[in-house]
């Protein structure tokens, strides 16, 4: 995080429109880049597939749902290690032990591959899909899992360009190969689409892998699993990561058993209404992901650094309190501005939902659900930002509480409203995320009021020297992303 803040500020000092745009794009790529590129790629492939008259709706859906499953479940697997390893790697960087990072990578990779293979073997046994399709999906699933892991390490090393270019290149190759398939083959099926997409992802994988080799020139495999000790030290980070990702998907999982669900190829549960609405809704919060980096990180980060710097490097109490006030008011303003900008986008999306649904020709129910899930996505974006801020301030307890509420309420409200059928889809999600949003906001307000006390109290609880305050800035170079 810290690194981005600095770089962006530099960019903004050159008051050129183009460099400003570059900064926005750049930050967008960093935060939600992979996610955005993948969506665009999948969307383009969908569109290409739509142009192939021989390809049935079922085949196209099978492709879509296979890719979605690969992403959803790899993200869930990733969430089990994401925050803990991020913290561990950030600490290694801080302690100037960069040479110890590569073993963590191989360690995490091994654990991830093993877990992914185990998970996939269940699918393999249960799914009646043909061998070649399952094999291709297996390759894709493993590829995405490995990509997540490398993404973490490259972000921690602040090698954002490599990440962005790898995804771009992979995306282009995905689209290109599918396009080639549509041109060369007379009767393409979902397998060919999946193959094309997988080829692109493998290219991304190799791009990231070369970036890894360049970033970490010292490579040896010793003490690969010593990062496990951070699960003891920060069990809350583990829980926060898992609860957030499960909290996002739990409503889908529940609604896969509700009215309107279908089973694709006897392998995948799917709810065309709800899942489609969710997909579109999450596109509406891209502005937040983009703005957060710029608005909060550049303007806020400066004050954040001043505050911790004054504490750490011998500031007087009145200076610390002044810095706290400034930081708090900047944070408040930035959050309000962010919520307002996103609010406008969300409101616009909700108002235009009817027209949009009519224009692209999907069932009206999707538009109904979309209005609710867009509201939920708005709250979700805010919850993500508040969680990140709580973690910047080392309020792991608060972040845990927020994400526990996020997961529990999402599951609870969706379950309670499930029997009411399709008309109520998304309502539970909207209500529960709104409640959690308010809880998270209250927690941040409460915590910020006493943030100076917590800095000192927490330092005491963990029995660390004063260097931990400097460490704050390097926390979490990596963020959650859907």
């Amino acid at each position: 995080m810290a690194g981005i803040g600095f770089k962006l500020q530099k960019l903004f000092q050159e008051d050129y429109y183009s460099s400003r745009l570059k900064a926005y794009t750049f930050s967008g790529l960093v935060t939600s880049g992979p996610w955005l590129i993948v969506i665009l790629v999948v969307g383009t492939i969908q569109w290409l597939a739509f142009q192939m008259p021989t390809l049935s709706l079922a085949e196209r859906t099978l492709f879509m749902i296979s890719v979605s499953y690969a992403f959803i479940f790899s993200q869930i697997l990733f969430s089990f290690q994401q925050l803990v390893v991020t913290r561990y790697v950030a600490d290694l960087f801080y302690e100037k032990k960069a040479h110890e990072i590569f073993p963590v990578f191989t360690g995490m990779l091994k654990v991830t591959i093993l877990a992914a293979a185990l998970l996939y073997s269940i699918f393999w046994l249960l799914s009646p899909l043909d061998f070649l399709y399952k094999l291709t999906l297996f390759v894709l699933f493993m590829t995405i899992n490995v990509i997540w892991v490398m993404f973490l390490f490259l972000s921690a090393a602040k090698y954002y360009q490599a990440v962005a270019y790898s995804f771009l290149l992979g995306g282009l190759i995905s689209v290109g190969s599918v396009y080639a398939i549509s041109r060369l083959m007379t009767d393409p099926s979902s397998l060919e689409l999946l193959l094309g997409f997988t080829v692109g992802m493998i290219v991304t994988l190799f791009g990231l892998f070369f970036a890894m080799l360049r970033t970490f020139p010292l490579r040896y495999a010793v003490k690969e699993f010593s990062y496990f000790k951070y699960f003891d030290r920060y069990p809350d980070l583990f829980a926060i990561g898992v609860l957030y990702v499960l909290g996002i998907w739990v409503t889908n999982f529940i609604i896969w058993f509700g009215e309107g669900r279908v089973i694709i190829a006897d392998s995948f549960l799917f709810n065309p209404y709800y899942d489609t609405a969710i997909f579109w809704s999450y596109l509406t919060i891209i502005p937040t992901q983009l703005l957060f980096v710029v608005a909060v990180e550049t303007r806020f980060y400066e004050r954040y650094r001043t505050f911790y710097g004054l504490i750490n490097y011998g500031g007087a109490l009145h200076q610390i309190e002044k810095a706290k006030q400034t930081m708090t008011s900047v944070l408040k303003n930035e959050l309000i501005r962010l919520a307002r900008s996103q609010g406008v986008v969300t409101l616009f999306a909700i108002l235009m939902a009817g027209a949009f649904v009519g224009w692209i020709g999907v069932p009206d129910e999707i538009g109904q659900i979309f209005r609710m899930t867009t509201l939920a996505a708005f709250a979700n974006a805010m919850i993500l930002i508040l969680t990140l801020l709580l973690l910047y301030f080392e309020d792991r307890r608060g972040a845990l509480f927020v994400n526990l509420s996020f997961f529990t309420l999402n599951a609870l409200f969706t379950l309670l409203l499930l029997p009411r059928g399709i008309d109520w889809y998304g309502v539970g999600f909207a209500v529960s995320t709104t409640i959690t949003f308010f809880l998270a906001g209250l927690r941040l307000i409460y915590y910020m009021g006493k943030v100076d006390y917590y800095v000192f109290a927490a330092s005491n609880r963990r029995k660390l020297g004063t260097e931990r305050f400097s460490q704050m800035g390097t926390l979490l170079n990596r963020r959650f992303s859907r």
Binding site: I311, N312, G314, G315, A316, L317, H318, Q319, I320, K450, Y453, F456, A457, A458, N460, R461, K463, T466
Partner: protein
């Protein structure tokens, strides 16, 4: 009767004045059982002991000051009154035994205490009062390091006893006050040196405490002394000047009392007639360390030599405590051409040497109540000593003393004055003999070990009765 004897950084692991006093007191009361409560900065093992524990020592309870790194558990559950009490204490406003009880019994862990909002708000309030914009984090850590040892000593198990006797204020005084408060037992305080003054000197001289924080550290140790003075039933010291210091720091005068050091009866010797002989024999019973200011003594010897006086100065005492200083003294003697006049004999049996001396010398720049002077007086030898600690009180006698002077008092660091008085002693042998006799009579009357033991025994008995007799 079981007595808890609280000792800080001394008996039985460090030798010195307080430790030998302790050993003597315990040995002199074989019918009383003593539990040693030894406060030490770091862990001690049995082989570190410098003294053989007498049979009436029931055991040693160790209290360590170093941080054990407890995990933060629980929360403070204090009412407004409790917080007010502890606040008063932390802010060094006034002694408060209720605060000690709370800190000892009502704190789930020291980590939880230091992580509490209560502690935080106190640090902020004190910072606002005391600091003029210095580093807040350093101030915070100072507070924590100031109160960590207090919580440490209060959180370790303490023995049940009938009476607690602390041999200093400081942390020992805090422990004793706390034991009095929680066990409802009498608390006797004996101060040899004035603890808070000694800490004050150390703090002012130390280079590792940043200057802005020194005043608070000084006030802190005075605060600990006041706590002990406030809680103690008897406040005993060795001589009048120290008693005045105690009063000045805040000891109520009605509680203060002087019980001097004492000399065993066998050390009180008959006078040897030494009016007729050729060379004047001067003795000095002293460790070769800077605080004893041997150089003034050597300069005085030089003056006497220049005045063509014949004499022999024998300096008895270990040479290995500060080898650099001992070497400096040796060189000074040599370079002043005093090798025939002054001799460093090292550590010897003083009792066998004493009868050979006409006069004893002490030129220290700081003393408590020096046993050496009492030993010399017991042997009937006159003194020339500097005006430090109890020297004047011993040599000249207190206000109601019937015996007359036992020597001369001179200002510290004043070789000329020393030489003058030594010459006087050389020239007036009859008066010299009378001084020696005065001294021996005074020791016989006021400075006998048996008296010291009897008085402590009487205090123990009286207080035990007052607080309800045997309970342990």
């Amino acid at each position: 009767m079981k007595i808890g004897l609280v000792l800080e950084g001394s008996y039985p692991y460090v030798s010195g004045g307080v430790s030998s006093w302790t050993q003597t007191l315990i040995e002199a009361m074989p019918e009383v059982s003593f539990e040693i409560i030894s406060i030490q900065p770091t862990e001690k093992r049995p082989e570190d002991m410098k003294y053989a524990l007498p049979a009436n020592v029931s055991g040693i309870t160790h209290l360590y000051l170093n941080d054990m790194g407890e995990r933060a558990r629980g929360r403070l559950k204090w009412g407004a009154d409790d917080e007010q009490n502890v606040s008063d204490w932390l802010m060094l406003r006034s002694p408060n035994r209720q605060a000690l009880r709370l800190l000892g019994k009502e704190v789930p862990s020291s980590e939880a205490f230091f992580a509490s909002e209560f502690f935080w708000s106190n640090v902020k309030a004190a910072y606002a009062e005391e600091m003029n914009g210095g580093s807040f984090i350093d101030y915070f850590w100072m507070w924590q390091s100031m109160y960590t040892p207090i919580l440490r000593v209060l959180h370790q198990p303490l023995p049940k006893v009938d009476l607690v006797h602390s041999v200093s204020t400081g942390y020992a005084g805090v422990v004793a006050s706390y034991m009095k408060e929680t066990q409802g037992i009498p608390f006797i305080l004996t101060e040899h040196g004035i603890y808070s003054r000694e800490r004050e000197e150390e703090i002012l001289q130390s280079y590792w405490i940043p200057a802005p924080y020194k005043p608070r550290w000084v006030r802190f140790f005075h605060h600990l002394s006041r706590e002990a003075y406030n809680a103690a039933d008897e406040i005993i010291t060795l001589f009048e000047r120290n008693r005045e210091y105690q009063e000045w720091i805040g000891a109520p005068s009605e509680k203060t009392k002087i019980i001097a050091n004492g000399i065993a009866d066998r050390q009180i010797q008959a006078t040897v007639d030494r009016t007729e002989h050729d060379i004047f024999q001067i003795g000095a019973i002293v460790r070769l360390v800077p605080i004893k200011d041997l150089k003034t003594m050597i300069y005085a010897a030089k003056i006497l030599q220049e005045r063509h006086r014949l004499f022999k100065l024998t300096i008895m005492g270990p040479l290995d405590e500060d080898e650099e200083y001992a070497e400096e003294c040796r060189l000074l003697i040599e370079q002043s051409g005093l090798s025939d006049y002054v001799e460093l004999v090292g550590k010897v049996d003083v009792q066998t040497y004493l009868p050979t001396f006409d006069l004893l010398l002490l030129t220290s720049i700081s003393e408590g109540q020096p046993l050496a002077i009492l030993e010399g007086m017991a042997a009937g030898i006159p003194w020339v000593a500097t005006d430090v600690g109890a020297c004047s009180e011993i040599l000249y006698g207190r206000a109601d003393d019937p015996f007359g002077p036992a020597g001369f008092i001179v200002p510290p660091v004043h070789p000329e004055a020393v030489a003058d008085k030594v010459e006087w002693m050389m020239d007036y042998p009859q008066e010299r003999m009378r001084f020696g006799k005065n001294g021996r009579e005074r020791v016989r009357q006021y400075y006998r070990l048996q008296q010291v033991v009897d008085r402590y025994k009487a205090i123990y008995e009286a207080r035990r009765e007052q607080y309800g007799g045997h309970r342990v």
